[in-house]
Symmetry: C3
Subunit: 353 residues, 3 copies
């Protein structure tokens, strides 16, 4: 960690300083918690009023704001600038160079690239192939014939079943499982018979997977997590499902089998998506939605069942008025009953509830 | 993997060939991905049009279809026939015969049956008993007094707490936990006091459990997963709950404690079921439902709160019309207000919203 | 396990006996499963009728009940009395005293307190500090600089990332992960760039965490689980979120980042809570709710979107009447159309659906 002046940071991220460019920045923090030497950022408007009170030495913002009492870094994309500065000041996690632990169990037929660090109690099965510069933390299991590219990181207690293919610069967090059998049974006369799952899993380059996820192998083809996609914690992806590149899946999402997502989709927390449907590109699915139908490119949906977001926001927020609506209908029925009888309009009456 | 003729496969599964029985089948694939030598199948009507374009050498179908351009295998239950053919052509996962690894840690008082394969870094505690023909993958923990039957498979990093009973031919996938303490606390003066959970867990024969599941031990009696039931990934079963035989629980289901499910229930993904209720036999619960009441035998339910499915499908799909309905009610109120005043029907007015 | 008379138990918990104080109590069980020598309890009224038929030797109740056929222990708080008796009769789980296993891998720079028991295949990284009386089960990973207090229990295959702080008497169940990176990316020109997560995780004293949970480390500040809070299975807590003391979070809850919960909150199973909001003290959130707004102290909410519980119970239970309501509106529109035309009230007509 090396201190920089605000001016140096501005040069580094291509931003503009309003205020003293010579203030020293050592670390970053939130507006509310920052102290002298910290840079903070404003992305969520909710926190804008903290600009007046923050103890930060500088704040990254998207446009000049008058209420700020501190030097500002005006960046086109303040969150991206914040990321760049965080990487500059702190870097990513440093991994101890442990080499290949003698307490790891590595098959003679496995191939390990150069500059790999394989910790204690890792088991690497026959014919597995690990590229250069990988870090494999303790208690990981790498099954038979698994292939891992270069510079990937596998955190503790991850299990990768036989034959799965992991790309370059992939990060798999602790206790996740890649390539377990898909949930596939043929039910016959009341008994569920397991169907061999002969497909695999392909995790493309630059994917990150959270903790306690399960990525099922395909029944026949592969399950695919596309390049650059990021999965949060406790997510399960069904057999044969294909997630396109650069998607974001927030925690606890569940996607059934044989579904496809396009590129740059954003899937909120706890969303469920049924099998055998197609989700287009640039689709956004709000948290907890239940998706049961295809979604075209670019659409935003919410709710269970999921519907277009503007419509959905109005519709779901109206559930709270249901008792009132029902009472109003009853009142109308009563009134119209009176009107009908008083005007002598015959025997037709509103259907009772 | 051994090639067969379509005629041989027909004999094997008791099906009928329409077309050339001499085509050679080496593997299986989906209609869309199949190549020469592959057999495919049609179960989901959605894919029926692919019968015209598939490159498969044969397709398993339920009844003769005119549009098919390839030989057909007509089977009473095409998915069951597909399963049988998959097992014939590919078999289930082959497990390396590693014997008892010297890098496993097995208590002297544990009993291990014949033909077991216990991998590196497995810990088996005192008085545990493992039957014949079991496969225990790396980094598994088998607690004190645990009993496992014959021919069961325990994948990496599974934890089985003390005293749990696992049947024959059970499969427990990676990173799942069996027998952790139930979520039981007595709250007194604002502090939550842990209640000893002295019940156990019984996993009956032929159960399969997905990855990252948690099956709590009972507070007093046992938590039971009935014979032949199959659980997907990331499922949690509460203390003392009893799942009957031959149920299917899709991923991310959560069932609270002291609930019972009958036999042959199907529980969709992300369903939540409260504690202390009774779900009958042959009940089907749609994905994401929230079940708060008993369900009688054979019923199909959906929604949160869950209601009978036909009623529920209509009701939940109508949420999207709520804004329109509310507007219509307002229009009616306005109209009836005009009618009432014009007909001189007195002072009663519809309740305002 | 030592038998006691009912009278001794009454003295121990400060309760009153109705019936024979000399009956011997050896264990506890449910009303339905109890046998001679068991004490049972009645908390949930649903089971009250079992008081007539139970085979228990005594039952703990809150007030005298006439239908009981067995001796009663009248306690102010029967569930708390039951907990005390369970601890007296059975105690909590006994952990084998294994010392520090030579098959564990413990860094020379790690500090281990007295009377710790560290099992096989545990990896403890540099500068980690474990207090006195801790039990660390097999296949646990304790990252660099992690601090654990006294008398804590870490079950198998738990992973604690670098720098996390765990208090005293904390219990972390199997396959859970503490301190993985928060789900933080800056998306720029279609690519998601990982933001270093330099915050930590603080698990305060007396917390219990279920299996397969993921507690993300903060981006800048710490993620905090407050003293005495209890988390069920498969829960995920986002980066920088702060859970106050003495909260209960039931299984499969997901809370996004930078949210705060007060003290004594109860969060039902499968609840989702968005990021950047404030939940007050003593808040109760019903199972499966979706919380998107701040909640004031003491409020009870349910539903998705979550609303106040009394209102919500009526509103959500009314979804089943939507088809009927919509039909009634149509009927009213038709009737009012007739009325309007018959009374000659002009051309205005109700909006068609």
């Amino acid at each position: 960690m090396q201190a920089r002046t605000l001016g140096e940071l501005a040069d580094y991220v291509g931003a503009r300083v309003v205020g003293d460019p010579n203030v020293t920045i050592k670390s970053a923090s939130t507006l509310g918690r920052a102290r002298d030497g910290d840079i903070s950022f404003l992305v969520n408007r909710k926190y804008q009023k903290q600009l007046r009170t923050t103890k930060a030495s500088a704040v990254i913002v998207g446009k000049e704001v008058t209420e700020a009492a501190v030097p500002l870094l005006i960046a086109e994309d303040p969150y991206y600038a914040f990321m760049q500065i965080m990487v500059l000041l702190h870097g990513h996690r440093k991994h101890k160079k442990v080499g290949i632990s003698p307490r790891a169990s590595i098959s003679d037929s496995a191939k390990i690239g150069i500059d790999c660090h394989i910790h204690d109690f890792v088991a690497v099965a026959d014919d597995a192939k690990i590229g250069d510069g990988c870090i494999i933390y303790p208690n990981v299991y790498i099954g038979q014939g698994v292939q891992i590219g270069n510079d990937s990181i596998v955190y503790p207690s991850v299990t990768i079943y036989d034959g799965c293919k992991i790309g370059n610069r992939v990060i798999i967090n602790a206790n996740s499982t890649i390539g377990e059998d898909g949930f596939g049974y043929a039910s016959y006369k009341g008994v569920h018979h397991k169907i061999p799952q002969i497909g695999g899993v392909v995790i493309e380059d630059d994917v990150e997977i959270g903790v306690c996820c399960g990525i099922e192998r395909g029944t026949l083809g592969d399950t695919v997590i596309g390049q650059g996609s990021k999965l949060g914690d406790l997510i399960t992806i069904g057999h044969g499902t294909k997630i396109g590149p650069h998607c974001l899946l927030v925690a606890q999402v569940g996607i059934a089998g044989s579904t496809s997502l396009g590129h740059h989709c954003v899937v909120g927390g706890q969303v469920g998506i049924v099998g055998h449907i197609n989700i287009g590109n640039n689709v956004t699915i709000a948290a907890q939605a239940g998706v049961v139908n295809n979604i075209p490119d670019g659409q935003v949906v919410l709710g269970a069942p999921a519907i277009e977001a503007n419509q959905g926001k109005r519709a779901y927020s109206m559930i709270q008025y249901l008792p009132e609506m029902r009472q109003n209908i009853r009142n109308l029925q009563s009134l119209i009953g009176q009107l009908t009888s008083s005007t002598g309009l015959g025997s037709e009456t509103p259907g009772g509830q």
